[in-house]
Amino acid sequence: MARINWYKYASPTNFYPFAEKMIPWFAFPAAVLFIVGLYVGFFVAPSDFQQGDAYRIIFIHVPAAWMGMLLYVLMAIYAAIGWAFNARLSSMMASAISITGAMFTFLSLVTGSLWGKPTWGTWWVWDARLTSTLILLFLYIGFISLQASIDDPRRADRAGAVLAIVGVINVPIIYFSVQWWNTLHQGATIRLLGKPTMAPPMLAAMLIMLAACWLYSIAVVLVRLRYIIIEREQNAARAAEVSV
């Protein structure tokens, strides 16, 4: 009987102990990979001939930016599944992801501006990518604040799903419009990442950091998911008691 009944874990009460068991399996590799990735990034990878050591922030910046974008799509998919199939756990997953996604987007903006100061000489440029990342952060904030201001969890899940889906359709439109706007206004002449190739250790460090960020996200999302389950299922239990 090696077959696992996956539907069993679609129930929050069954998923709760399962998540507890899974968290260390993601948290510890994440910690190890963070250390390895930072070591490779700071001590093994060579200095950039143009930017010197300042470029090393890339090892946090790029994975954070990727995570910010990917998690938004993932959040929308979970929210849509939760809405379409009435799967509570899936909707809870979307809420759990939203905070981590916003955190990574914010991190990528902060590291980007820290990186911009030494290399471009300015904290902020109205570059297409920066601007669209900023708007992505606004979309996350919209999702989080909409869910936070609705008391009924079912309505919060579904309203969030509509907003996330509308947001996902809009992300490419926003991205291209911002890019177009940028070329029209002849914005900054400085471009992100002019390097044609990367030294292998640099690439390795970045990929390790990316894996670390993924594992970290999964671990943190599972932790947050457990809290959401406790909160909601307790309410459900209390409501059941009252009605009896």
Partner: protein, 219 residues
């Protein structure tokens, strides 16, 4: 049914014309504040005019969204509308059309007057009005999703701005770009076509999303 909804909402808007007028006055006052903040130099004002007018139009149409469903929600009409056999899509489209007629169209018609204050040329004024005529229905359509989602929530007015303003970005960009292009004498067709494309896209999808959001909010 569609016509009935439009006529009904227009009648209601006429009865409560203070609301309609205050949106327009907001637009007027907001735009007029910019020269006071920036300074009276005509060249500078001409440069910022497309952006200023468009941002003010964005904010004004967002403020108008509060009226879209709120009253019908409070007196129970909305619930009845949801129960009718007619597709909710058409109901939403009718309400949005009525909202646009009383908020978007006057805004676009008023914009040349404001453009003159900023020293825009005749052609730029025309392009501004046209771009607003094309863009404001998109704002109303996309905004209706936000209005439906925040129905009956505390702090709905502020929340709707957080939800809707990021989604307005493409309209702002293409709208202001069209006016910009007409000022420097390059083609305005590209931006206007893109605005038209956004309008077509939102005409198809936005009422559907709003209908779904209404069902969720009224459950």
């Amino acid at each position: 049914m569609f016509r009935w909804i439009v006529l009904r909402d227009l009648t209601l808007a006429w009865k409560g014309r203070v609301d309609v007028l205050s949106t327009l006055f907001f637009f007027l006052i907001a735009v007029s504040l910019f020269p006071l903040g920036i300074g009276p130099e005509t060249n500078l004002l001409r440069l910022v005019a497309p952006g200023v007018v468009w941002v003010a139009a964005l904010l004004a149409s967002m403020l108008a969204l509060g009226r879209l469903f709120a009253n019908d929600y409070q007196d129970g009409t909305l619930e009845q509308l949801l129960l009718t056999p007619q597709p909710l899509y058409l109901v939403v489209l009718g309400k949005v059309l009525a909202l646009w007629l009383v908020s978007g169209v006057p805004l676009a018609l008023l914009s040349p007057v404001l453009g003159i204050q900023f020293g825009l040329s005749g052609k730029a004024l025309l392009v501004m009005a046209v771009s607003l005529l094309l863009g404001t229905p998109v704002l109303a359509l996309v905004g209706s999703i936000g209005a439906a989602l925040t129905l009956g929530l505390r702090g709905g007015g502020l929340l709707i701005s957080i939800l809707v303003l990021p989604l307005y970005v493409p309209v702002l960009i293409f709208g202001a770009a069209a006016v910009d292009a007409s000022m420097v004498g390059s083609g305005v067709q590209g931006s206007l076509s893109l605005l038209g494309a956004l309008l077509a896209l939102s005409l198809v999808f936005a009422p559907w999303a709003t209908a779904a959001a209404l069902r969720i909010s009224l459950e």
